[in-house]
């Protein structure tokens, strides 16, 4: 080699040229693959549903329902589950690359954003009927009067209480704010708090604040109105009494459930999706009641929660029509009942809800609460997320020292300037 250095150099040069060529070839291949990826051809009999059923149980229930509907309609339905917080951003990305799935299950509070962008198809135009669905739930799946989302089940919040602790202390189940405050104070003992709720800095906390705000006549478009201030003052009073843990501002709804199950709270505000976990502890005797109201006789207005099945606007009318039939099947009375019994949620369909009540009488209070519940986005639509962020900051400020009025005034300012 030392004898012929130039030849070696040449060989190296030749090699490098070869390498350059192969690099070029590889990049062409990659570019080609990327391009064909965009124009991916859909299999005519295979339909995809994107949802957030990442939990094993939910994923299985959904897969079973999809298998039944697929068989009935003669198609194959594939389930694609992504974490709940990523459904929206993933769907948007898919929209820009023209690879939207045939059906997307959105959280109902997010659906208006996607509908507003022009991404959804009117379900009534695809032949879905809404005759058996209560108006409140039709509105829940609608944006600006168009019905885009079919709910299979809905949920809301209720007051869960530990029956043994309440019986032992001789405390009746509270129905008004004053009763709840007194009961919570009496039930607070040692390491146990009277009540647990979530005032965390995310949608969880806002979801929990709405029943207090709405039952008091407050409104999300007027955050510094006296009714909202009063509701926040009520939360502050519970905290000052020592009936709520100071960690409330850092808790999610799942944390609240953990505290309740560990016996660190005698009562909690939570939703039916916790029932599955609650039932794993056989020694825990819990029951539910409607969330207490400001004055006796007032309506307890909770937030309506849950997901809706939507058909994205893909431009392929034939597939959209079949997708509509799949949604119709998944949201049919029979499937709703099966799903609701599995997941402890309340069926959206009135007939299914009646059958459900008979089967799970212990959740009767929940069904009543759902009937009067309100959708978060009914009034503000896509503007809800801004209001929600402002509200989170406000109740956290108020619970950690600021006056409710100042905190909410700032929130209202932030919400209106942001939109």
């Amino acid at each position: 080699m030392t004898a012929h250095p130039p030849a070696a150099a040449h060989r190296a040069l030749g090699r490098s040229r070869g390498a350059v060529t192969s690099f070029a070839a590889v990049s062409v291949l990659i570019a080609g693959a990327a391009l064909t990826g965009c124009a991916e051809q859909r299999d005519s009999d295979v339909y995809t549903v994107m949802n957030s059923s990442t939990d094993e149980t939910y994923h299985r229930w959904d897969a079973e329902a999809m298998a039944r509907c697929g068989e009935r309609l003669g198609v194959t339905i594939e389930q694609q589950s992504v974490p709940a917080s990523q459904v929206m951003t993933k769907a948007l990305r898919m929209a820009s690359s023209k690879s939207l799935p045939d059906i997307v299950q959105f959280d109902a509070s997010e659906m208006p954003t996607f509908a507003d962008a022009g991404g959804l198809v009117d379900l009534r135009a695809l032949g879905l009927a809404t005759d058996d669905i209560p108006q409140g739930i039709v509105d829940f799946g609608s944006y600006r009067g168009t019905y885009y989302g079919a709910a299979r089940s809905v949920n809301t919040l209720a007051l869960f209480y530990n029956k043994d602790i309440l019986d032992e202390a001789g405390v009746p189940v509270p129905t008004t704010w004053d009763e709840m405050r007194a009961a919570a104070k009496k039930l607070t003992e040692g390491k146990r708090y009277g009540l647990a709720l979530s005032a965390g800095g995310a949608e969880d906390g806002v979801f929990q604040f709405t029943p207090f705000m709405w039952s008091n006549g407050g409104d999300e478009s007027d955050l510094d109105g006296p009714q909202v201030v009063e509701a926040l003052d009520y939360w502050k009073a519970l905290l000052q009494d020592g009936s709520l843990s100071k960690s409330t501002v850092n808790w999610t709804q799942a944390d609240v459930n953990d505290q309740f199950m560990a016996g660190n709270a005698a009562m909690m505000i939570n939703g039916p999706w916790q029932v599955e976990t609650l039932n794993t502890d056989k020694s825990l005797h819990w029951e539910i009641a409607q969330i207490p109201v400001p004055e006796a006789g007032a309506d307890s207005v909770g937030p309506l929660g849950g997901a809706v099945l939507t058909v994205p606007n893909t431009g392929d009318t034939g597939r959209e029509r079949t997708a509509g039939r799949i949604v119709d099947c998944l949201a049919s009375e029979k499937e709703q009942l099966t799903y609701a019994l599995n997941s402890w949620m309340v069926p959206a369909n009135e007939k299914a809800a009646a059958k459900w009540r008979a089967k799970v009488p212990e959740l009767d209070a929940l069904a009543d609460q759902v009937a009067a519940a309100r959708s978060r986005t009914a009034k503000l639509g896509a503007g809800w997320s801004g209001v929600s962020l402002a509200l989170q900051s406000a109740f956290q400020s108020a619970l950690t020292g600021q006056s409710s009025e100042t905190a909410l005034q700032r929130a209202q300012q932030r919400a209106t300037s942001g939109n």
């Binding site: 040449h10 948007l92 962008a117 960690s247 409330t248 850092n250 900051s393 950690t400």
Partner: protein
């Protein structure tokens, strides 16, 4: 490949004749080969760094909403996004929190890391085992440590407060639940996470310092402090620059740890530029505003990168 070797003429230098191809062609060929080596790196940089960067800057001047994903239209709106972000009180707060968080984290991580590195630089039984144990926080995913620390720091049921309580030291510290404490707690957790990185790099640097210097110092009767100041620190300077700059880059854009610990709360007390851009882009879906905050973050990092490169250049001379 083989063909090219065979057909390649013998270079003029060895043949001594002018039978080969003209030197201009040869120079061109060499240039092409040089570019061939540079091209993959350039293409990679342009594709994965240049494009997103330019795109992010352009996006900050656009009205970029969920609708854009369908229509592909994002009208330019001048400096609207910038002015609305700068007018937001939250931006000022987030900027301040980011600076405090970064400065506090770096100071803590570096001091403890350096102390541990000096400590482990002496050889003693089980030193190696202990040193590897200290690496543990580094191996745990950030989100996992965030969730575990959130439980540890819980005001009522957390391990830390219970421990302080048994020691009779109060035990009611609102680590994550008071707006005055939360930022400090988040910094403390981040220091815990950053110590191993600082220790490992600084330890490596210490090992490079020739032993003779220390021997000479001890012969001259220098005190331990004097030795540290006059030998260890100056010899370690290049490594210290690397540790601090890399630490800065990863700390200033913190997101996952804060999301797992406090979600930016309570009452926005731990809102940083990282969480703010996340909130703007992925919660409010106002991508223009999110891009503005992201650009400010990039700008801050870029300024420090320039300092770093300059420091390196003077080091090289």
């Amino acid at each position: 490949m083989t063909t090219s070797t065979v057909t390649a003429p013998v270079p003029a230098k060895t043949s001594g004749k002018s039978a080969g191809p003209d030197p201009a062609r040869q120079r061109l060929r060499r240039r092409l080969a040089q570019w061939g080596f540079v091209a993959p790196a350039v293409v990679f940089m342009l594709l994965f760094f240049g494009y997103p960067l330019v795109r992010n800057i352009v996006m900050s001047f656009q009205h970029y909403t969920p609708k854009t994903f369908f229509t592909g239209e994002a009208p330019f709106n001048g400096a609207d996004n910038w002015s609305s972000v700068f007018q937001d009180v939250l931006f000022g707060q987030a900027l301040w929190h980011t600076l405090v968080f970064t400065a506090g984290s770096l100071l803590g991580q570096f001091c403890v890391g350096l102390a541990l590195a000096v400590f482990f630089n002496r050889r003693f039984p089980l030193g190696g085992v202990l040193r590897s144990l200290i690496l543990l926080p580094w191996l745990v995913p950030m989100v996992v440590s965030g969730i575990v620390w959130r439980r540890i720091l819980d005001q009522d049921t957390g391990v830390l407060n219970t421990f302080l309580d048994t020691l009779g030291l109060g035990g009611h510290t609102p680590w994550l639940t008071s707006p005055d404490m939360a930022l400090l707690s988040v910094i403390l957790v981040n220091i815990w996470i950053g110590i191993p990185f600082n220790m490992v790099i600084l330890y490596g640097g210490l090992q490079e310092i020739p032993r003779e210097l220390y021997e000479a110092a001890s012969l001259d009767g220098a005190s331990a402090w004097r030795t540290f100041r006059s030998i260890t620190l100056p010899m370690l300077k290049p490594v210290i620059t690397v540790v601090l700059v890399l630490g800065f880059m990863s700390t200033v854009k913190i997101l996952d740890l804060i999301l797992a610990l406090t979600d930016g709360g309570p009452a926005d007390a731990t809102q940083t530029l990282g969480t703010l851009t996340y909130q703007n882009s992925f919660v409010e879906l106002d991508f223009g505003a999110g891009a503005v905050v992201g650009n400010v973050l990039i700008l801050i990092s870029a300024v420090f990168a320039v300092f770093y490169l300059r420091a390196n250049r003077t080091e090289g001379k």
